[in-house]
Protein backbone atom coordinates (compact mmCIF):
# COMPACT_ATOMS: atom_id res chain seq x y z
CA UNK A 1 0.00 0.00 0.00
CA UNK A 2 1.38 3.38 -0.94
CA UNK A 3 1.38 6.05 1.82
CA UNK A 4 -1.60 8.34 2.23
CA UNK A 5 -2.94 10.91 4.64
CA UNK A 6 -6.14 10.24 6.56
CA UNK A 7 -8.80 12.71 7.65
CA UNK A 8 -12.28 12.23 9.02
CA UNK A 9 -14.96 14.48 7.54
CA UNK A 10 -17.41 16.15 9.97
CA UNK A 11 -20.09 16.71 7.35
CA UNK A 12 -20.56 16.73 3.59
CA UNK A 13 -19.17 20.26 3.15
CA UNK A 14 -16.10 19.31 5.19
CA UNK A 15 -15.68 16.16 3.10
CA UNK A 16 -15.85 18.09 -0.17
CA UNK A 17 -13.29 20.58 1.13
CA UNK A 18 -10.93 17.77 2.20
CA UNK A 19 -11.61 15.81 -0.98
CA UNK A 20 -10.58 18.65 -3.23
CA UNK A 21 -6.92 17.68 -3.14
CA UNK A 22 -5.76 15.79 -6.23
CA UNK A 23 -5.53 12.03 -5.77
CA UNK A 24 -7.86 12.16 -2.76
CA UNK A 25 -10.49 9.48 -2.37
CA UNK A 26 -13.53 9.20 -0.15
CA UNK A 27 -13.40 6.20 2.18
CA UNK A 28 -16.50 4.34 3.31
CA UNK A 29 -16.24 0.91 4.89
CA UNK A 30 -13.10 0.15 2.93
CA UNK A 31 -14.23 -3.31 1.86
CA UNK A 32 -13.29 -2.65 -1.76
CA UNK A 33 -10.99 0.39 -1.66
CA UNK A 34 -8.64 -0.93 1.05
CA UNK A 35 -8.34 -4.22 -0.83
CA UNK A 36 -7.52 -2.42 -4.09
CA UNK A 37 -5.01 -0.18 -2.29
CA UNK A 38 -3.29 -3.24 -0.87
CA UNK A 39 -2.99 -4.56 -4.44
CA UNK A 40 -1.75 -1.06 -5.48
CA UNK A 41 -4.47 -0.93 -8.13
CA UNK A 42 -5.68 2.16 -6.24
CA UNK A 43 -3.07 4.62 -5.01
CA UNK A 44 -4.76 7.62 -3.42
CA UNK A 45 -2.49 10.02 -1.57
CA UNK A 46 -5.28 11.16 0.74
CA UNK A 47 -8.27 9.35 2.21
CA UNK A 48 -11.28 11.30 3.44
CA UNK A 49 -13.31 9.13 5.79
CA UNK A 50 -16.99 9.80 5.14
CA UNK A 51 -18.44 7.09 7.39
CA UNK A 52 -19.44 9.78 9.88
CA UNK A 53 -21.81 11.44 7.41
CA UNK A 54 -25.52 10.80 7.24
CA UNK A 55 -26.51 7.21 7.90
CA UNK A 56 -30.18 8.00 8.38
CA UNK A 57 -33.05 6.36 6.54
CA UNK A 58 -35.92 8.83 6.50
CA UNK A 59 -39.31 9.33 4.88
CA UNK A 60 -39.21 11.75 1.95
CA UNK A 61 -41.89 14.38 1.37
CA UNK A 62 -42.94 12.56 -1.81
CA UNK A 63 -43.63 9.34 0.07
CA UNK A 64 -40.35 7.65 -0.81
CA UNK A 65 -37.30 6.97 1.34
CA UNK A 66 -34.04 8.89 1.61
CA UNK A 67 -31.00 6.80 2.54
CA UNK A 68 -27.85 8.56 3.74
CA UNK A 69 -24.78 7.48 1.79
CA UNK A 70 -22.95 6.39 4.95
CA UNK A 71 -25.69 3.93 5.89
CA UNK A 72 -24.29 0.43 6.22
CA UNK A 73 -25.58 -2.09 3.70
CA UNK A 74 -26.81 -4.28 6.58
CA UNK A 75 -28.79 -1.38 8.05
CA UNK A 76 -30.60 -0.79 4.76
CA UNK A 77 -31.51 -4.47 4.40
CA UNK A 78 -32.68 -4.60 8.01
CA UNK A 79 -34.82 -1.46 7.87
CA UNK A 80 -38.47 -2.45 8.13
CA UNK A 81 -39.76 0.12 5.64
CA UNK A 82 -37.25 -1.11 3.05
CA UNK A 83 -38.24 -4.73 3.67
CA UNK A 84 -41.96 -3.98 3.41
CA UNK A 85 -42.04 -1.39 0.62
CA UNK A 86 -38.94 -2.25 -1.42
CA UNK A 87 -38.24 -5.96 -0.76
CA UNK A 88 -36.17 -6.21 -3.95
CA UNK A 89 -33.62 -3.86 -2.38
CA UNK A 90 -33.35 -5.78 0.88
CA UNK A 91 -33.05 -9.05 -1.03
CA UNK A 92 -30.38 -7.71 -3.36
CA UNK A 93 -28.25 -6.45 -0.49
CA UNK A 94 -28.65 -9.69 1.46
CA UNK A 95 -27.64 -11.67 -1.63
CA UNK A 96 -24.29 -9.87 -1.72
CA UNK A 97 -21.03 -10.44 0.15
CA UNK A 98 -21.16 -11.73 3.74
CA UNK A 99 -22.71 -10.46 6.95
CA UNK A 100 -19.34 -9.08 8.07
CA UNK A 101 -18.83 -7.15 4.83
CA UNK A 102 -22.41 -5.84 4.79
CA UNK A 103 -21.81 -4.53 8.33
CA UNK A 104 -18.86 -2.49 7.05
CA UNK A 105 -19.85 -1.47 3.52
CA UNK A 106 -21.70 1.81 2.98
CA UNK A 107 -24.36 2.62 0.42
CA UNK A 108 -22.12 5.20 -1.25
CA UNK A 109 -19.24 2.76 -1.40
CA UNK A 110 -21.44 0.04 -2.84
CA UNK A 111 -22.41 2.36 -5.71
CA UNK A 112 -18.76 3.03 -6.46
CA UNK A 113 -17.31 -0.44 -6.01
CA UNK A 114 -15.10 -1.51 -8.86
CA UNK A 115 -15.19 -4.56 -11.05
CA UNK A 116 -14.07 -7.98 -9.84
CA UNK A 117 -12.42 -8.76 -13.19
CA UNK A 118 -9.35 -10.76 -12.18
CA UNK A 119 -7.23 -9.07 -14.85
CA UNK A 120 -8.09 -5.68 -13.36
CA UNK A 121 -6.79 -6.91 -10.00
CA UNK A 122 -3.66 -8.52 -11.45
CA UNK A 123 -1.49 -5.46 -11.74
CA UNK A 124 1.78 -7.36 -12.04
CA UNK A 125 0.76 -9.88 -14.66
CA UNK A 126 -2.07 -8.61 -16.85
CA UNK A 127 -2.95 -5.86 -19.24
CA UNK A 128 -6.04 -3.85 -18.36
CA UNK A 129 -7.44 -0.76 -20.05
CA UNK A 130 -9.36 0.12 -16.92
CA UNK A 131 -6.17 0.27 -14.87
CA UNK A 132 -3.93 1.64 -17.60
CA UNK A 133 -5.90 3.06 -20.57
CA UNK A 134 -4.48 2.00 -23.91
CA UNK A 135 -2.54 -0.93 -22.47
CA UNK A 136 -4.90 -3.60 -23.82
CA UNK A 137 -7.30 -6.10 -22.27
CA UNK A 138 -6.26 -9.63 -21.40
CA UNK A 139 -9.81 -10.65 -20.51
CA UNK A 140 -11.14 -10.52 -24.06
CA UNK A 141 -9.07 -13.50 -25.14
CA UNK A 142 -8.57 -14.85 -21.63
CA UNK A 143 -10.74 -16.47 -18.97
CA UNK A 144 -13.92 -14.47 -19.43
CA UNK A 145 -16.60 -16.70 -17.98
CA UNK A 146 -17.68 -13.97 -15.54
CA UNK A 147 -17.53 -11.09 -18.00
CA UNK A 148 -20.08 -8.91 -19.78
CA UNK A 149 -22.43 -9.85 -22.62
CA UNK A 150 -24.14 -6.45 -22.90
CA UNK A 151 -22.76 -2.90 -23.09
CA UNK A 152 -19.09 -3.90 -23.26
CA UNK A 153 -16.54 -2.55 -25.74
CA UNK A 154 -13.41 -3.72 -27.52
CA UNK A 155 -11.48 -2.00 -24.71
CA UNK A 156 -13.21 -3.57 -21.69
CA UNK A 157 -15.59 -6.44 -20.94
CA UNK A 158 -15.67 -6.13 -17.14
CA UNK A 159 -18.95 -6.28 -15.22
CA UNK A 160 -20.19 -4.09 -12.40
CA UNK A 161 -20.28 -6.37 -9.34
CA UNK A 162 -22.98 -4.77 -7.17
CA UNK A 163 -26.24 -6.49 -6.29
CA UNK A 164 -27.66 -3.44 -4.52
CA UNK A 165 -27.26 -1.29 -7.64
CA UNK A 166 -29.34 -3.71 -9.73
CA UNK A 167 -32.27 -3.27 -7.37
CA UNK A 168 -31.77 0.49 -7.29
CA UNK A 169 -31.76 0.57 -11.10
CA UNK A 170 -35.08 -1.26 -11.20
CA UNK A 171 -36.53 1.08 -8.56
CA UNK A 172 -35.62 4.29 -10.41
CA UNK A 173 -33.53 5.48 -7.50
CA UNK A 174 -31.88 8.90 -7.59
CA UNK A 175 -28.36 9.60 -6.36
CA UNK A 176 -27.70 12.88 -4.54
CA UNK A 177 -24.28 14.43 -5.06
CA UNK A 178 -22.36 17.28 -3.51
CA UNK A 179 -19.20 18.69 -4.99
CA UNK A 180 -17.09 21.82 -5.31
CA UNK A 181 -19.70 23.16 -7.74
CA UNK A 182 -22.66 22.55 -5.44
CA UNK A 183 -25.36 19.92 -5.19
CA UNK A 184 -27.09 17.94 -7.93
CA UNK A 185 -28.94 14.67 -8.46
CA UNK A 186 -28.60 11.99 -11.12
CA UNK A 187 -30.75 8.94 -11.79
CA UNK A 188 -29.02 5.76 -10.63
CA UNK A 189 -29.25 4.46 -14.19
CA UNK A 190 -27.24 7.48 -15.38
CA UNK A 191 -24.58 7.33 -12.63
CA UNK A 192 -22.46 4.63 -14.26
CA UNK A 193 -21.10 4.94 -17.77
CA UNK A 194 -20.37 2.33 -20.42
CA UNK A 195 -16.68 1.72 -21.11
CA UNK A 196 -16.35 2.74 -24.77
CA UNK A 197 -12.68 3.54 -25.28
CA UNK A 198 -12.29 4.94 -21.74
CA UNK A 199 -13.09 2.10 -19.32
CA UNK A 200 -11.13 3.90 -16.61
CA UNK A 201 -14.04 6.36 -16.40
CA UNK A 202 -16.87 4.53 -14.66
CA UNK A 203 -19.30 7.19 -13.47
CA UNK A 204 -20.46 10.73 -14.27
CA UNK A 205 -19.00 11.98 -10.97
CA UNK A 206 -16.88 15.08 -11.33
CA UNK A 207 -13.55 15.43 -9.49
CA UNK A 208 -14.19 15.86 -5.77
CA UNK A 209 -17.88 15.04 -6.05
CA UNK A 210 -19.33 13.05 -3.16
CA UNK A 211 -22.41 10.81 -3.00
CA UNK A 212 -24.49 12.06 -0.07
CA UNK A 213 -27.71 10.04 -0.34
CA UNK A 214 -29.84 7.71 -2.40
CA UNK A 215 -33.54 8.53 -2.84
CA UNK A 216 -36.14 5.84 -3.48
CA UNK A 217 -39.28 7.15 -5.18
CA UNK A 218 -42.71 6.17 -3.89
CA UNK A 219 -43.60 3.02 -5.84
CA UNK A 220 -46.70 1.18 -4.74
CA UNK A 221 -45.79 -1.64 -7.14
CA UNK A 222 -42.42 -2.15 -5.49
CA UNK A 223 -44.02 -3.99 -2.59
CA UNK A 224 -44.38 -6.77 -5.16
CA UNK A 225 -40.77 -7.08 -6.23
CA UNK A 226 -37.99 -9.58 -6.01
CA UNK A 227 -34.32 -10.24 -6.67
CA UNK A 228 -32.88 -13.49 -7.92
CA UNK A 229 -29.16 -14.16 -8.11
CA UNK A 230 -27.55 -17.06 -9.94
CA UNK A 231 -24.00 -17.85 -8.87
CA UNK A 232 -21.45 -20.63 -8.64
CA UNK A 233 -22.17 -21.37 -4.98
CA UNK A 234 -25.22 -20.81 -2.83
CA UNK A 235 -23.80 -17.87 -0.89
CA UNK A 236 -20.89 -15.43 -0.70
CA UNK A 237 -20.15 -15.23 -4.43
CA UNK A 238 -20.62 -12.61 -7.10
CA UNK A 239 -23.46 -12.96 -9.58
CA UNK A 240 -23.19 -14.77 -12.89
CA UNK A 241 -26.65 -13.39 -13.60
CA UNK A 242 -29.04 -11.50 -11.38
CA UNK A 243 -32.49 -10.11 -11.99
CA UNK A 244 -34.33 -7.39 -10.06
CA UNK A 245 -37.98 -6.97 -10.95
CA UNK A 246 -41.22 -5.35 -9.95
CA UNK A 247 -44.43 -6.40 -11.67
CA UNK A 248 -47.99 -5.10 -11.54
CA UNK A 249 -50.62 -7.20 -13.29
CA UNK A 250 -54.20 -6.07 -13.88
CA UNK A 251 -56.80 -8.28 -15.59
CA UNK A 252 -54.09 -10.56 -16.91
CA UNK A 253 -52.15 -7.71 -18.49
CA UNK A 254 -48.88 -6.11 -17.48
CA UNK A 255 -49.79 -2.74 -15.99
CA UNK A 256 -46.23 -1.89 -14.99
CA UNK A 257 -42.92 -3.70 -14.96
CA UNK A 258 -39.42 -2.72 -13.93
CA UNK A 259 -36.56 -5.00 -14.78
CA UNK A 260 -32.82 -4.73 -14.22
CA UNK A 261 -29.98 -7.19 -14.70
CA UNK A 262 -26.71 -7.74 -12.86
CA UNK A 263 -23.62 -9.72 -13.80
CA UNK A 264 -24.13 -9.08 -17.52
CA UNK A 265 -22.86 -5.56 -18.18
CA UNK A 266 -20.35 -2.88 -17.14
CA UNK A 267 -23.16 -1.12 -15.26
CA UNK A 268 -26.38 -2.13 -13.53
CA UNK A 269 -28.46 -2.91 -16.62
CA UNK A 270 -32.00 -1.56 -16.82
CA UNK A 271 -33.79 -3.86 -19.27
CA UNK A 272 -35.77 -1.15 -21.07
CA UNK A 273 -36.36 -3.19 -24.21
CA UNK A 274 -37.92 -6.03 -22.25
CA UNK A 275 -40.05 -3.57 -20.29
CA UNK A 276 -41.32 -1.94 -23.48
CA UNK A 277 -42.18 -5.32 -24.93
CA UNK A 278 -44.15 -6.25 -21.82
CA UNK A 279 -46.09 -3.11 -20.92
CA UNK A 280 -49.77 -3.47 -21.72
CA UNK A 281 -49.30 -6.99 -23.03
CA UNK A 282 -50.31 -10.34 -21.53
CA UNK A 283 -48.67 -11.41 -18.28
CA UNK A 284 -47.80 -14.89 -19.50
CA UNK A 285 -44.63 -16.93 -19.37
CA UNK A 286 -44.49 -16.84 -23.15
CA UNK A 287 -44.57 -13.04 -23.14
CA UNK A 288 -41.94 -12.91 -20.39
CA UNK A 289 -39.59 -15.12 -22.40
CA UNK A 290 -40.22 -13.12 -25.58
CA UNK A 291 -39.37 -9.92 -23.70
CA UNK A 292 -36.18 -11.53 -22.40
CA UNK A 293 -35.36 -12.50 -25.96
CA UNK A 294 -35.80 -8.87 -27.04
CA UNK A 295 -33.48 -7.63 -24.30
CA UNK A 296 -30.77 -10.16 -25.06
CA UNK A 297 -30.96 -9.70 -28.85
CA UNK A 298 -27.96 -7.39 -28.65
CA UNK A 299 -25.91 -9.72 -26.46
CA UNK A 300 -22.34 -10.20 -27.62
CA UNK A 301 -20.96 -13.12 -25.65
CA UNK A 302 -17.25 -13.89 -25.45
CA UNK A 303 -15.79 -17.36 -25.94
CA UNK A 304 -16.19 -18.20 -22.25
CA UNK A 305 -19.55 -16.75 -21.29
CA UNK A 306 -22.06 -17.73 -23.98
CA UNK A 307 -24.07 -19.55 -21.31
CA UNK A 308 -25.00 -16.21 -19.78
CA UNK A 309 -27.31 -15.35 -22.68
CA UNK A 310 -29.58 -18.33 -22.13
CA UNK A 311 -29.20 -18.11 -18.36
CA UNK A 312 -30.29 -14.47 -18.40
CA UNK A 313 -33.34 -15.22 -20.54
CA UNK A 314 -34.48 -18.09 -18.36
CA UNK A 315 -33.86 -16.20 -15.13
CA UNK A 316 -35.89 -13.24 -16.38
CA UNK A 317 -38.70 -15.61 -17.37
CA UNK A 318 -38.62 -17.41 -14.03
CA UNK A 319 -38.59 -14.22 -11.96
CA UNK A 320 -41.47 -12.59 -13.83
CA UNK A 321 -43.49 -15.81 -13.77
CA UNK A 322 -42.96 -16.06 -10.02
CA UNK A 323 -44.08 -12.46 -9.51
CA UNK A 324 -47.11 -12.94 -11.76
CA UNK A 325 -48.03 -16.16 -10.00
CA UNK A 326 -47.95 -14.63 -6.57
CA UNK A 327 -44.75 -16.36 -5.49
CA UNK A 328 -42.69 -13.25 -4.83
Amino acid sequence: MTPFSYARARDAADAVRLGASPQAKYLGGGTNLVDLMRETVERPTALVDVTGLSSAISESDDGGLLIGAATKNSAVAEHLAVRQRYPVLAQAILAGASAQIRNMATVGGNLLQRTRCTYFYDEDGSRCNKRAPGEGCDAIEGFNRIHAILGASSACVATHPSDMCVALAALDATVHLQGPGGQRSVPLTALHTLPGDRPDIETVLQPGELITAVALPPLAGAARSTYRKVRDRASYAFALISVAATLEVEDGAVKDVRLALGGVAPKPWRASKAEAALRGGPATERAFLAAAEAELADAAPLHGNGFKVELAKRTIGAVLSALAGGVA
Binding site: P87, A90, Q91, N103, Y236
Partner: protein, 178 residues
Protein backbone atom coordinates in the same frame (compact mmCIF):
# COMPACT_ATOMS: atom_id res chain seq x y z
CA UNK B 1 -9.30 9.02 21.66
CA UNK B 2 -7.77 5.56 21.65
CA UNK B 3 -9.35 2.29 20.62
CA UNK B 4 -10.49 -0.27 23.19
CA UNK B 5 -9.55 -3.91 22.64
CA UNK B 6 -11.26 -6.35 24.98
CA UNK B 7 -11.89 -3.49 27.40
CA UNK B 8 -8.29 -2.27 27.40
CA UNK B 9 -7.35 1.00 25.74
CA UNK B 10 -4.71 0.92 23.04
CA UNK B 11 -3.10 3.63 20.95
CA UNK B 12 -3.99 3.95 17.31
CA UNK B 13 -1.13 3.39 14.87
CA UNK B 14 0.57 6.54 13.56
CA UNK B 15 0.52 5.09 10.03
CA UNK B 16 -3.05 4.97 8.65
CA UNK B 17 -2.13 2.02 6.42
CA UNK B 18 -2.18 -0.35 9.42
CA UNK B 19 -5.23 -2.61 9.36
CA UNK B 20 -7.13 -3.43 12.51
CA UNK B 21 -5.94 -7.01 12.02
CA UNK B 22 -2.27 -5.99 11.94
CA UNK B 23 -2.78 -3.71 14.95
CA UNK B 24 -4.15 -6.68 16.88
CA UNK B 25 -1.52 -9.18 15.79
CA UNK B 26 1.66 -7.21 15.20
CA UNK B 27 1.40 -4.38 17.72
CA UNK B 28 -0.74 -5.79 20.51
CA UNK B 29 0.41 -9.40 20.04
CA UNK B 30 -3.14 -10.70 20.18
CA UNK B 31 -2.55 -13.62 17.85
CA UNK B 32 -5.96 -15.21 18.27
CA UNK B 33 -7.41 -13.26 15.35
CA UNK B 34 -6.09 -14.92 12.21
CA UNK B 35 -4.88 -13.59 8.88
CA UNK B 36 -6.22 -15.95 6.23
CA UNK B 37 -6.67 -14.38 2.81
CA UNK B 38 -6.15 -10.74 3.88
CA UNK B 39 -8.63 -9.71 1.18
CA UNK B 40 -12.06 -10.24 2.68
CA UNK B 41 -12.77 -13.66 1.24
CA UNK B 42 -12.38 -16.08 4.17
CA UNK B 43 -13.64 -14.59 7.45
CA UNK B 44 -10.70 -15.80 9.57
CA UNK B 45 -10.06 -12.24 10.79
CA UNK B 46 -13.62 -11.64 12.03
CA UNK B 47 -13.87 -9.57 15.22
CA UNK B 48 -16.71 -7.75 16.95
CA UNK B 49 -16.84 -3.95 16.95
CA UNK B 50 -19.46 -2.61 19.34
CA UNK B 51 -21.02 -6.06 19.08
CA UNK B 52 -21.15 -6.13 15.27
CA UNK B 53 -19.07 -8.62 13.31
CA UNK B 54 -16.64 -7.16 10.78
CA UNK B 55 -13.52 -8.23 8.88
CA UNK B 56 -10.47 -6.75 10.57
CA UNK B 57 -8.28 -7.29 7.48
CA UNK B 58 -10.28 -4.77 5.42
CA UNK B 59 -10.57 -2.31 8.32
CA UNK B 60 -8.08 0.51 8.63
CA UNK B 61 -7.42 0.75 12.37
CA UNK B 62 -7.66 4.55 12.34
CA UNK B 63 -11.30 4.28 11.27
CA UNK B 64 -12.16 2.59 14.55
CA UNK B 65 -11.04 5.30 16.95
CA UNK B 66 -13.10 5.24 20.14
CA UNK B 67 -14.75 1.92 19.29
CA UNK B 68 -14.95 -1.26 21.37
CA UNK B 69 -13.30 -4.24 19.72
CA UNK B 70 -13.78 -7.76 21.02
CA UNK B 71 -11.47 -10.54 19.85
CA UNK B 72 -11.41 -14.23 20.71
CA UNK B 73 -9.10 -13.40 23.63
CA UNK B 74 -11.87 -11.28 25.14
CA UNK B 75 -14.46 -14.03 25.27
CA UNK B 76 -13.11 -16.34 27.95
CA UNK B 77 -13.12 -15.05 31.50
CA UNK B 78 -12.28 -16.32 34.95
CA UNK B 79 -15.04 -18.87 34.54
CA UNK B 80 -13.12 -20.50 31.69
CA UNK B 81 -14.01 -20.78 28.06
CA UNK B 82 -17.08 -19.12 26.57
CA UNK B 83 -19.95 -21.62 26.11
CA UNK B 84 -19.56 -21.35 22.34
CA UNK B 85 -15.87 -22.23 22.60
CA UNK B 86 -16.78 -25.25 24.72
CA UNK B 87 -19.41 -26.28 22.16
CA UNK B 88 -16.87 -26.10 19.32
CA UNK B 89 -14.70 -28.56 21.27
CA UNK B 90 -17.65 -30.82 22.10
CA UNK B 91 -18.84 -30.97 18.49
CA UNK B 92 -15.41 -31.21 16.81
CA UNK B 93 -16.09 -27.86 15.16
CA UNK B 94 -12.46 -27.64 14.08
CA UNK B 95 -9.48 -29.58 12.88
CA UNK B 96 -6.54 -27.22 12.35
CA UNK B 97 -8.27 -24.43 14.26
CA UNK B 98 -7.14 -21.59 12.03
CA UNK B 99 -10.64 -20.40 11.13
CA UNK B 100 -12.05 -21.03 14.62
CA UNK B 101 -11.60 -17.60 16.27
CA UNK B 102 -13.28 -15.98 13.26
CA UNK B 103 -16.06 -18.57 13.25
CA UNK B 104 -16.76 -17.97 16.95
CA UNK B 105 -16.73 -14.17 16.76
CA UNK B 106 -18.90 -14.35 13.65
CA UNK B 107 -21.43 -16.61 15.38
CA UNK B 108 -21.68 -14.20 18.32
CA UNK B 109 -22.43 -11.38 15.88
CA UNK B 110 -25.01 -13.66 14.25
CA UNK B 111 -26.73 -14.25 17.60
CA UNK B 112 -27.23 -10.51 18.05
CA UNK B 113 -28.55 -10.13 14.50
CA UNK B 114 -31.05 -12.95 14.93
CA UNK B 115 -32.13 -11.64 18.33
CA UNK B 116 -33.18 -8.32 16.79
CA UNK B 117 -34.89 -10.00 13.82
CA UNK B 118 -32.47 -9.07 11.06
CA UNK B 119 -33.31 -11.00 7.87
CA UNK B 120 -30.93 -13.02 5.69
CA UNK B 121 -30.91 -14.07 2.04
CA UNK B 122 -32.91 -17.21 2.90
CA UNK B 123 -35.50 -15.56 5.14
CA UNK B 124 -38.86 -16.44 3.56
CA UNK B 125 -40.88 -13.56 4.98
CA UNK B 126 -38.79 -10.40 4.77
CA UNK B 127 -41.46 -8.34 6.49
CA UNK B 128 -41.49 -10.58 9.59
CA UNK B 129 -39.94 -8.97 12.63
CA UNK B 130 -38.66 -12.18 14.18
CA UNK B 131 -36.36 -14.83 12.76
CA UNK B 132 -36.18 -18.54 13.52
CA UNK B 133 -32.59 -19.75 13.32
CA UNK B 134 -33.21 -22.81 11.15
CA UNK B 135 -30.42 -24.97 9.76
CA UNK B 136 -30.58 -23.12 6.42
CA UNK B 137 -30.61 -19.72 8.14
CA UNK B 138 -27.59 -20.65 10.22
CA UNK B 139 -25.60 -21.88 7.24
CA UNK B 140 -26.43 -18.83 5.13
CA UNK B 141 -25.57 -16.46 7.96
CA UNK B 142 -22.21 -18.18 8.50
CA UNK B 143 -21.31 -18.29 4.80
CA UNK B 144 -18.72 -15.56 5.25
CA UNK B 145 -16.53 -17.91 7.29
CA UNK B 146 -14.75 -20.62 5.32
CA UNK B 147 -13.29 -23.77 6.86
CA UNK B 148 -10.80 -25.51 4.61
CA UNK B 149 -10.71 -28.59 6.87
CA UNK B 150 -14.39 -29.12 6.20
CA UNK B 151 -15.54 -29.00 9.82
CA UNK B 152 -18.69 -27.13 8.83
CA UNK B 153 -21.11 -29.73 10.19
CA UNK B 154 -19.51 -29.57 13.63
CA UNK B 155 -19.42 -25.78 13.44
CA UNK B 156 -23.14 -25.61 12.65
CA UNK B 157 -23.94 -28.07 15.44
CA UNK B 158 -21.90 -26.10 17.99
CA UNK B 159 -23.51 -22.80 17.05
CA UNK B 160 -27.04 -24.26 17.00
CA UNK B 161 -26.61 -25.87 20.42
CA UNK B 162 -25.21 -22.70 21.97
CA UNK B 163 -27.97 -20.59 20.45
CA UNK B 164 -30.67 -22.94 21.77
CA UNK B 165 -29.07 -23.02 25.23
CA UNK B 166 -28.96 -19.22 25.26
CA UNK B 167 -32.63 -18.99 24.33
CA UNK B 168 -33.56 -21.42 27.09
CA UNK B 169 -31.52 -19.47 29.60
CA UNK B 170 -33.23 -16.24 28.57
CA UNK B 171 -36.65 -17.86 28.62
CA UNK B 172 -36.36 -19.36 32.09
CA UNK B 173 -36.43 -16.18 34.20
CA UNK B 174 -39.62 -14.98 32.50
CA UNK B 175 -41.20 -18.37 32.96
CA UNK B 176 -40.27 -18.24 36.62
CA UNK B 177 -41.83 -14.79 36.89
CA UNK B 178 -44.99 -16.05 35.25
Amino acid sequence: MPIRINGIEADLPPDPRVSLLDLLRETLHLHGTKKGCNQGACGACTVLVDGERILSCLALAVQYEGRDVTTIEGLSGEGGLHPLQQAFIAHDGLQCGYCTPGQICSALGLFAEVARGAPSAVTADLAAQTVTLSHDELRERMSGNLCRCGAHNGIVAAIAETYDAGRLARAQPSEAAA
